[in-house]
């Protein structure tokens, strides 16, 4: 009797994690969100790369819900896409129901429009629909023509050489995210590697629009002041050196004359 009880108990313990894993099996392996400027503000092209298991399930015809780390803000709308149904929570898009027809190999694509005023130096909450969970995803803030969305750091994000990422995200994880999404790394500093859980913890990612003009403006004034100061110092130096240099020249010419006379006398 006791033996049977332990066997049942052990079986239950063994099955419990499997049952839990079944319900929370990750859907997304990685994702990339590319941004471009539009008349209304920003256009986000989202490409979520699903895990092989999730892709196989979808291929079998059972739809899955892809939840976002945070519901999208009011200024973000989703373009109607075949096979994708927005999941609404309190009037906000909190995810998408992915059907079989939305699947392209392991990738699901959608386009989102963010209505926002894009002025230089203004902070914008990014409307990229980062998937919930621990999958590392990439937000590419390079808007082209040297204009970029510079991610505001702090809140668990730190700036590194050429990208921004949470402190505990290593090279291998970033390389894997790039491999999955086909993202080509550039040295713009506009790439953000982030997980859904990071976005949730920081209550959204904000960025500042940086234009070439805006970037140059910050340094230009300091350099102009330094330039004027150096030119001024050069003119002051000329005035101060004038007399001393004349005396030196006169001395040297006199010495040469004396030498020449001495030579003649000999």
């Amino acid at each position: 009797m006791l033996r049977t009880f332990f066997v049942v108990l052990l079986t239950l313990f063994a099955l419990a994690p499997a049952a839990h894993a079944e319900t929370t099996a990750p859907l997304v392996a990685s994702a990339i969100f590319s941004s471009t400027r539009s008349a209304q503000g920003l256009t986000w092209r989202a490409s979520w790369v699903l895990t092989p298991e999730a892709a196989a399930e979808l291929d079998d015809g059972s739809p899955r819900t892809l939840r976002f780390a945070l519901p999208l803000a009011d200024d973000v709308t989703m373009e109607p896409t075949t096979g994708l149904q927005p999941v609404l929570e309190d009037g906000h898009v909190a995810g998408v129901l992915v059907g079989r027809t939305a699947l392209d190999a392991r990738t699901v694509r959608a386009v989102f429009h963010q209505r926002t005023a894009l002025d230089s130096d203004t902070h914008v909450r990014l409307g990229a629909p980062v998937a919930a969970g621990i999958a590392l995803q990439i937000i590419d803030g390079d808007l082209g023509s040297d204009t970029r969305l510079e991610i505001d750091t702090g809140h668990g994000l730190e700036r590194r050489v050429g990208h921004v990422a949470p402190p505990n995200v290593g090279h291998a994880a970033r390389a894997e995210a790039r491999r999955l999404t086909g993202y080509t790394s550039r040295v713009t500093g506009a790439a953000l590697y982030v997980r859904g859980d990071d976005v949730k913890a920081s209550k959204g990612v904000t960025a500042t629009l940086v234009t070439p003009h805006g970037r140059a403006r910050h340094g230009a004034l300091a350099i102009a002041v330094a330039f004027v100061a150096i030119v001024g110092a050069l003119f002051v130096a000329i005035r101060k050196l004038r007399d001393a240099a004349s005396v030196e020249r006169a001395d040297a010419l006199l010495a040469a004359e004396v030498d020449a006379l001495g030579g003649k006398a000999r």
């Binding site: 040297d146 050489v161 050429g162 990208h163 090279h171 970033r174 390389a175 080509t184 790394s185 550039r186 040295v187 713009t188 790439a191 070439p212 140059a216 340094g219 230009a220 350099i223 102009a224 330094a226 330039f227 150096i230 030119v231 050069l234 003119f235 130096a237 000329i238 050196l241 004038r242 001393a244 240099a245 005396v247 030196e248 020249r249 001395d251 040297a252 010419l253 010495a255 040469a256």
Partner: protein
């Protein structure tokens, strides 16, 4: 005029006349060379931006600023390298060699300025090519004049190798600062060039950031 001839002689690496060898006169020549370089750079800037009046006027400040600030940023590193290298060369000889190179390089810009302006007004592609080409030629000329001026002023018995460290450090610093200052001052040409985006654009390759 006499000072200009002396400066050209210095840029060419000729020996400094005895009457110009005093410390104050040497320093005065360094200052004159820098100020003359600003005028030459301004003339070239005017030509490079001559397609639009606004750009031409802006270049009267931008190009001399790029030249002078790159010198100001490079000089301390060169002087430190000169001290650390332990060379027997006089610091003023290194400074004269350096400003001689800058003077020579900007003189090349100034003499090519009419050609750059003419082609900018009469050709769609030759103007930008000449603009970039003249800047490259000026850099090359300045480098050669700097190295030659320093080597020719070495005291007998001084090994050439010992002065190459300060020369290389100064040149490297100036090139690196020129690159970013040109990007900060952009646009200098009416067209976007490979140097408009600074080091980020030049280093823009798939594996550069990892």
């Amino acid at each position: 005029m006499g000072t200009l001839v002396t400066l050209i002689d210095i840029a060419c690496g000729r020996p400094i006349p005895a009457e110009d060898s005093g410390p104050s006169r040497r320093l005065q020549l360094v200052v004159f060379a820098l100020l003359a370089s600003l005028v030459f750079a301004g003339a070239w800037g005017l030509a490079a931006g001559s397609r639009s009046a606004g750009l031409a006027v802006a270049n009267l400040y931008k190009v001399p600023m790029v030249v002078l600030m790159s010198c100001a940023f490079a000089a301390p590193a060169g002087l430190l390298a000169w001290r650390l290298s332990g060379t027997r060369m006089r610091g003023s000889d290194l400074a004269l060699g350096f400003v001689g190179g800058v003077f020579g390089g900007t003189l090349v810009l100034a003499v090519l300025a009419p050609l750059v302006a003419l082609y900018y007004h009469s050709s769609a592609w030759a103007g930008p090519v000449l603009g970039i080409g003249s800047a490259g030629l000026a850099l090359l000329t300045g480098t050669i004049m700097f190295v030659r001026g320093v080597v020719r002023r070495l005291e007998p018995g001084t090994r050439k190798r010992t002065v190459m460290l300060p020369v290389a450090v100064t040149l490297a610093m100036q090139l690196l600062t020129l690159l970013q200052l040109a990007s900060l001052a952009s646009p200098i040409f009416p067209e976007r060039t490979a140097f408009s985006g600074g080091i980020d654009h030049i280093a823009q390759s798939p594996a550069a950031s990892e």
